[in-house]
């Protein structure tokens, strides 16, 4: 990408090393022992600040579990995650208000982060008030600014979640995450459920926000075509392992593993084909 002052070594903002996450259902049906499931099986990766690192893979690859470990939603089984200079864990998140603010997450279903019985303004005010980010008298001005930054009108604050379309709800979910002025935004399939035309809007919005706020994105997705246009770096996961890691152009231009190649080859490309550009 741009910002090319030649190869100064930049410290990663997030560093995952040898992360293992297993889920052990204590007892199965009828009290039988159930084998633990290893969702992430020793993954190491580093995330560069101000850039977008995509974690891609098919269902069951462990990409969502990895994202949730970074977000402090799950305990780690072994290995470690560092954010700047401090270790990240579920416990660390519980102890540190600053950590909870710094790393935010948005999901495939934006409704999941919106309370259906709260007006949008209330939902957005909550983090501002809880974290005492702005004096009470400035809260509504801040909400207006937040809504504007995600392309919504100030009047949206007075409305209810159900009055908004899927794309607009995702804008609100983004605004809510931004309210805490995070460093890192984890997007878990955040544009996957949107209509194509709306998906493009949200991707553009995410890019604008990143440029304006120098945010770091961890973009979890199964959609290789979207990833090509949003990510700077890509981690390809399969069966809980990172099978290939590298800059986006290299991964797409010269994949080194058969699995990455098969993932890329499988993407339908009828538009390019009909234009006579592919195959």
């Amino acid at each position: 990408m741009s910002a090319d002052t030649p190869m100064r070594k930049i410290d990663p903002i997030i560093e995952v090393s040898k992360l293992v996450k297993t889920f052990s259902p204590s007892r199965g049906l009828l009290g039988r022992l159930v084998a633990p499931i290893t969702a992430v099986a020793g993954v190491s990766l580093s995330v560069a600040p101000g850039r977008t690192t995509a974690i891609v893979g098919e269902s069951g690859s462990g990409k969502t579990t990895l994202g949730r470990c970074i977000a402090g939603i799950y305990d780690l089984t072994s290995g470690s995650i560092r954010y700047r200079d401090e270790p990240l864990s579920r416990k660390a998140f519980r102890r540190s208000v600053r950590l909870r603010r710094s790393i935010q997450m948005i999901f495939q279903d934006p409704a999941a982060s919106l309370n259906p019985r709260q007006r949008i303004g209330t939902t957005l005010a909550e983090p501002l008030v809880v974290h005492r980010l702005v004096p009470r008298e400035d809260v509504s001005a801040r909400i207006e600014a937040l809504l504007k930054s995600v392309g919504l009108q100030a009047s949206a604050a007075e409305r209810w979640p159900h009055e908004f379309s899927g794309g607009q709800k995702q804008r609100i979910a983004i605004a809510r995450a931004l309210a805490l002025e995070p460093d890192v935004l984890i997007c878990d399939e955040a544009v996957s459920a949107l209509d194509v035309s709306v998906q493009a809007q949200i991707i553009n919005l995410l890019k604008e926000i990143q440029e304006a706020r120098r945010l770091t994105y961890i973009f979890i997705s199964h959609d290789m075509a979207v990833v090509r246009h949003i990510a700077d770096d890509v981690v390809v996961m399969k069966d809980g392992e990172a099978v290939e890691t590298g800059p986006t152009e290299r991964i797409f231009g010269a994949p080194r593993t058969a699995y990455t190649r098969s993932l890329l080859d499988a993407v339908p490309r009828g538009i390019a084909m009909r234009r006579g550009r592919a195959h």
Partner: protein
């Protein structure tokens, strides 16, 4: 293609209107859908949510939910009028003459019956095969669609199979009676991309071997453009463009199609700083704007577009847009 020849198309849909009632009010989800499918042809229907693509499929199959009904139009399949057909006739058409594949394979699979029983039941019922013949054919079909350990699969139940395997079985079932037409509504949307490619390939093999016509419905223009001969682009309950896939992609005649093409992320292109997004969102069927339903989002809209809705023109590559010369020349639509 639909040349006006002596041969009638396999399926002809004319001015199809379907209405839904919801919360005490009624609105049209299909507002005059017209197209034809020839024997062996592969048609792709592409559209966003609420465009009416699934409603088109359900109307043809007469599988609409209770809250929806066909208000007008004609559906003729293999010389039979499907709109006036009784439920007995429809039962014979479904499965025997028209196969169906849905996004969720469990829509067509019975969780209580073994895979083998479900496959043979269809063939016994519709084609009148005996148990032994139908079992042999079921086995052959599963092997054809590269289901490993086919004999074992025959004895298993749907819940014992993965999503991809279930969808393969659903496809086998849809094709088991060698129907003349298969309607597949988002058949691969719930599947992983590598499995999706495999399922589509298998579809391609079987339909071309049996000469089955197919209507493939998807939100992905890249998918239908890759696989289908002809494309129908739907928006707000109507077909806004139809034509041979290559023509539609290379020279879209409706601004919506052009916008859809440019907003689709292209895996073959180098990184784009920004996508060409379409402003706004697809309209809900209950609140369609006046005039052309696309005009609020359209970069080329002018006065006329806000007043009168254009109708899909005639010809092999047609669009419902006032910018299309044939339509612009006419004083009134049609």
């Amino acid at each position: 293609m639909t040349e006006a020849g002596p041969v009638a198309p396999l399926l002809s849909v004319r001015e199809l209107c379907t209405t839904v009632s919801s919360a005490g009010s009624e609105f049209d989800v299909l507002r005059g859908v017209t197209f034809a499918v020839d024997a062996g042809e592969k048609i792709g229907i592409v559209g966003e949510s609420g465009s009416g693509k699934s409603m088109t499929a359900l109307s043809i199959m007469r599988l609409l939910p209770r809250s929806a009904w066909i208000r007008g139009g004609r559906i003729v399949f293999d010389d039979a009028d499907l709109i006036s057909a009784g439920s007995e006739t429809m039962r014979r058409v479904r499965g025997r003459k028209i196969g169906m594949v849905f996004q969720d394979p469990m829509t067509s699979l019975n969780p209580l019956l073994s895979i083998g029983r479900q496959l043979t039941e269809v063939m016994e019922e519709h084609v009148g095969l005996g148990r032994r013949e139908s079992t042999a054919r079921a086995l052959e079909l599963l092997e054809r669609i590269r289901v490993p350990r086919a004999r074992q699969i025959l004895d298993s139940h749907p819940h014992q199979l993965s999503g991809g395997m279930r969808q393969r079985v659903a496809i086998a079932m849809a094709l088991s009676c060698r129907p003349q037409l298969v309607i597949a509504d988002e058949p691969t949307t719930a599947l992983d991309v590598t499995i999706q490619a495999e399922v589509i390939r298998l579809f391609e093999d079987l339909t071309s071997e049996y000469g089955t016509a197919i209507i493939l419905i998807s939100h992905s223009l890249d998918l239908v453009a890759q696989y289908c001969d002809r494309l129908l682009v739907m928006y707000a309950g109507r077909i806004v463009e139809s034509g041979p896939a290559t023509d539609v992609i290379r020279n879209p005649r409706h601004p919506y199609t052009a916008d859809l093409i440019s907003s689709a992320p292209d895996i073959t292109a180098p990184r784009m700083q920004r996508f060409k997004a379409i402003a706004g969102q697809p309209p809900a069927p209950a609140t369609l704007p006046r005039g052309c339903p696309y005009h609020p989002r359209c970069g080329s809209a002018f006065d006329r577009c806000t007043q009168t809705e254009p109708v899909l023109g005639e010809g092999s590559h047609a669009a419902a847009c006032w910018l299309v010369p044939e339509l612009a020349a006419a004083r009134e639509p049609r």
